[in-house]
């Protein structure tokens, strides 16, 4: 009996200890769905390596911002970077965690991946509804080797609000003045033509089914669904196909140094090899966190992930951050986040 009671007390003490130490046992995050698979993979490996758990709810970028502003999580995650003014308003700072690429995909009989070439104007014209057939002279001019069918183009886009759409429309707004004026950019826009699929998987399944369809998806979905990706003409004037290398090239040529809070769009990057519709997904934390230890645990997790998780990211078709960028991010922590322990993380 006394034995039992003692165990109980010991258990209670242990539990109390666990509560106190909870800040290093579990990290809570919420937000973007796009990076969820890689966060989950990193979390599993990190848990094995350090015993710290990451609890990530993929509720969407908008939800991630709401949750971190409401202080219900240790970090928020958002696909679209928040402008510095909005970050300052809530005392937040932001850094990229991993990169991806959005890629136009096409379904035409016999067309293989990266056989078709498109330039920004033609892509914008298709999504504006100005080019409605695949054998349009403008498309044919870019693809002299392809026999293009006399078929209507079925334009597919996202029906839900999404970071993927934000990146895609940001790119179109950058390269096409007409798109910028008529449609604009955002997580959801007033599409001139086409039909909407829910989620990347919805768009992928429409494109897969509809002969003559064009859509845009995160590159991982193009690969999983074996969709024919398109070569895009980038800012330097070269045709590039989507890959980890061309996405990394976009990140390497971006001017991160003059971007406050890493607020920057990777779209239409200047590099010769750069994939023009690349994007980074972002993490939001407080500059002066109420609980320093918890924010510190978040930073430690990403520091670990960047150093050890590159291969895991590539396996899942994400693109790890270039080394120089990681150094810049960790330097920004030192400058921005007011926590004693942070300096210790950045070696």
């Amino acid at each position: 009996m006394t034995m039992f009671r003692m165990t109980l007390i010991a258990g209670a003490l242990l539990a109390a200890g666990a509560v106190q130490a909870a800040d290093v046992n579990t990290i809570n995050g919420a937000g973007a769905t796009f990076p969820y698979p890689i966060y989950a993979k990193w979390a599993e490996a990190y848990n094995k390596a350090t015993g710290v758990k990451l609890n990530y709810q993929s509720i969407g970028s908008g939800g991630g911002v709401k949750q971190i502003v409401a202080k219900t999580v240790d970090f928020g995650a958002s696909d679209d970077a928040l402008p510095p003014e909005k970050l300052a308003e809530h005392g937040l700072t932001q850094f990229p965690s991993v990169m991806g690429a959005v890629v136009p995909v096409v379904n035409l009989p016999g067309l293989e991946a990266n056989q078709m070439k498109l330039d920004p104007e033609v892509l914008a014209d298709i999504y504006l509804g100005k080019i409605i057939k695949w054998n349009d002279p403008k498309i044919a001019a870019l693809n002299p080797g392809l026999s293009l069918p006399d078929k209507l183009i079925s334009v597919v886009r996202r029906s839900d609000g999404s970071g993927t759409t934000a990146v895609f429309t940001n790119y179109l707004a950058k390269v096409s003045p007409e798109w910028k004026e008529k449609v604009g950019e955002g997580k959801a826009v007033n599409w001139p033509v086409g039909m909407g699929g829910k989620g990347n998987e919805g768009v992928a399944s429409y494109v897969k089914q509809i002969e003559g369809a064009i859509g845009y998806v995160e590159s991982a979905y193009a690969k999983q669904n074996k969709l024919a990706t398109v070569q895009m003409k980038n800012k330097a004037g070269n045709y590039v196909s989507v890959s980890a290398k061309s996405t990394a090239a976009a990140a390497a040529t971006a001017d991160w140094k003059s971007a406050t809070d890493f607020y920057l769009w990777l779209t239409d990057a200047p590099g010769a090899e750069a994939w023009p519709i690349s994007n980074q997904t972002n993490i939001l934390v407080y500059k002066e966190p109420q609980d320093c230890a918890r924010t510190e645990a978040v930073l430690k997790f990403f520091d670990w992930a960047w150093k050890n998780g590159g291969a895991m990211a590539e396996e899942l078709d994400y693109v790890p951050l270039p080394k120089e960028l990681v150094e810049q991010i960790e330097a920004s922590w030192k400058a921005n986040i007011k926590c004693d322990g942070v300096a210790a993380i950045v070696k």
Binding site: G63, G161, G186, A188, N190, W191, M195, Y206
Partner: protein, 321 residues
Amino acid sequence: MSLERSLRGLALGDFAFRAITLLFAFLVLLLLAGIIIMLVQGAMPAFKAFGWDFITNETWDPVRDDYGAWAPIVGTVVAALIAMLIGLPLSFGISIFITEMAPQWLKRPVGTAVELLAAVPSIIYGMWGLFFFAPFFAKHVQPLLVASLGDVPLLGALFQMPITGGSSGVSVLTAGIVLAIMIVPFMAAVMRDVFEVVPSVLRESAYGMGATTWEVIRNVVLPYTKVGVVGGIMLGLGRALGETMAVTFVIGNASKLPTSLLEPGNTIAAKLANEFNEADGLQMDALIAMGLILFAITFVVLLLSKLLLMRLTLTQEGQKT
């Protein structure tokens, strides 16, 4: 003495039971009031910004913060109408067949199949619609419709080949048909149940007087069960108006007003499901305002059905006297 006590105990139990059920009933009212208040409150900013134009405006432009609900309202009503046009005769036929005409050995399997269909989750119908029915529709049904009805004056406008997504089969009509398939089991199950409560005496008397099966159905079964039948129809219509997942898969989620039934469109419920996650500010208010409109549409439909019932009862009583 002990009898009195036990009686008092019973009275107490009665009172407690009454109080508890009353509480439950009020809970429903409270919940309804809460939902209405929330919806109105959330919708206010949108109605303030756009006024009544919100209902008739076709645009939905999150970039410029210009919102109107007209396209989804039309889509909701049209898809539900198509579903009723197809679903009502079908479910009526099924239930009449099961209760009045089917041989005993067939009654159970058909009845069970209907009930099973009613239990299939809507996302399954959506995926079936997207992966199987829509391509089938595009390949076989759509060209037939365009060729046969496309040239008919007036009606033909509804059956024009869509410019975008022609070969996808994703359209308002597809959504209506999938909805019909979804609501048929519901309506058929309810109708079968109400047809079965018609006392055999009534039925047999009519047959005894030499009535045909049709006359029995028309003059005995239907008048006896009309409240239940209308209830079943309303249940189906309610589901057709509010269905979300299945519709969003097959309607194409276009924010424009469709010009033909074969064009992609949108419904209020599908739009809410698609955009709620990432919406904020005025867009969120506009979405909630659309929720309120859907609520109003459902309410009006319910009201109309009550009026219809009242009229039916009145005319019947008029016939008796």
